[in-house]
Symmetry: C2
Subunit: 151 residues, 2 copies
């Protein structure tokens, strides 16, 4: 099989931002307990002011892990056109308590968590972001480091 | 949007086994360090004798986490037609040291790790398996518990 030419950085950034702003797109959220138990769920995301925002039950394993460890690893897209994001929990807020965030979330996601009792928005700050399709895109896959897009 | 009728258990099991035996299919492998740092990668899988088999560098974060904690959470399929599997590390073996396993892996995956120095097959035993498409398939999503398919 002949692979397409690897994309340059600017193209990967543009493709990644297009993916992050796609309506009704899901993100894989990997978290860990403080004792090393892994967890993984798919949830709907919104991309708001450079943050990944998800809505989960405050009692869910994902919320509890993120509150406890402050860190998550996210995957967006299929496994051969992926953006992998290491992110930190910036804040957790009850879905009823931040009107602007709620409106931004609902504008992109395909469901409305604002009337779900006990749900929180988790605002996740990307720290490192990598994007690749096939193996020939492994070199140059890092697009963000230390929370900053590489130039 | 009207959702399709939820599938019954037998259909979900058949669909899940069909997915697990698809050529060149990838699996999301979520692991955790013993100190609560999450990790996540997509890799090619083979379904061999009721086990999920992946091939990774023995020095990779995934291999080190799995050796240390013995546990992983796997996702196969897109986020709205998913099988989620909690699995345990049954054994890790150098890719050159188990000929039958190597042949079984290569027969399904789309690459051959057997000449990659330092690579291991990780043989993962499913303990719990859930499969669902949309929200109306959340009830009845558990297909395996305690390592046994539910009847």
């Amino acid at each position: 099989m002949t692979l397409p030419e690897p994309r340059d950085r600017a193209t990967r950034v543009a493709d990644t931002l297009a993916m992050l702003t796609t309506p009704a797109i899901d993100v894989w959220v990997a978290t860990a307990s403080t004792t090393g138990s892994p967890y993984l769920v798919p949830v709907s995301l919104a991309w708001v002011d450079g943050r990944v925002v998800v809505a989960v039950d405050a009692m869910s394993v994902t919320a509890r892990n993120l509150i406890a460890t402050g860190t998550t690893r996210l995957a967006i897209g299929p496994s051969r056109d992926v953006a992998m994001i290491d992110a930190e929990l910036e804040r957790a807020v009850d879905v009823a308590d931040d009107v602007a965030l709620g409106e931004a979330y609902v504008a992109q996601a395909d469901w409305d968590p604002r009337r779900s009792a006990g749900y929180q928005f988790l605002v996740l700050r990307p720290v490192r972001l990598q994007a690749w399709r096939e193996v020939n895109e492994i070199p140059g896959r890092t697009l963000m480091r230390g929370g900053r897009w590489l130039q």
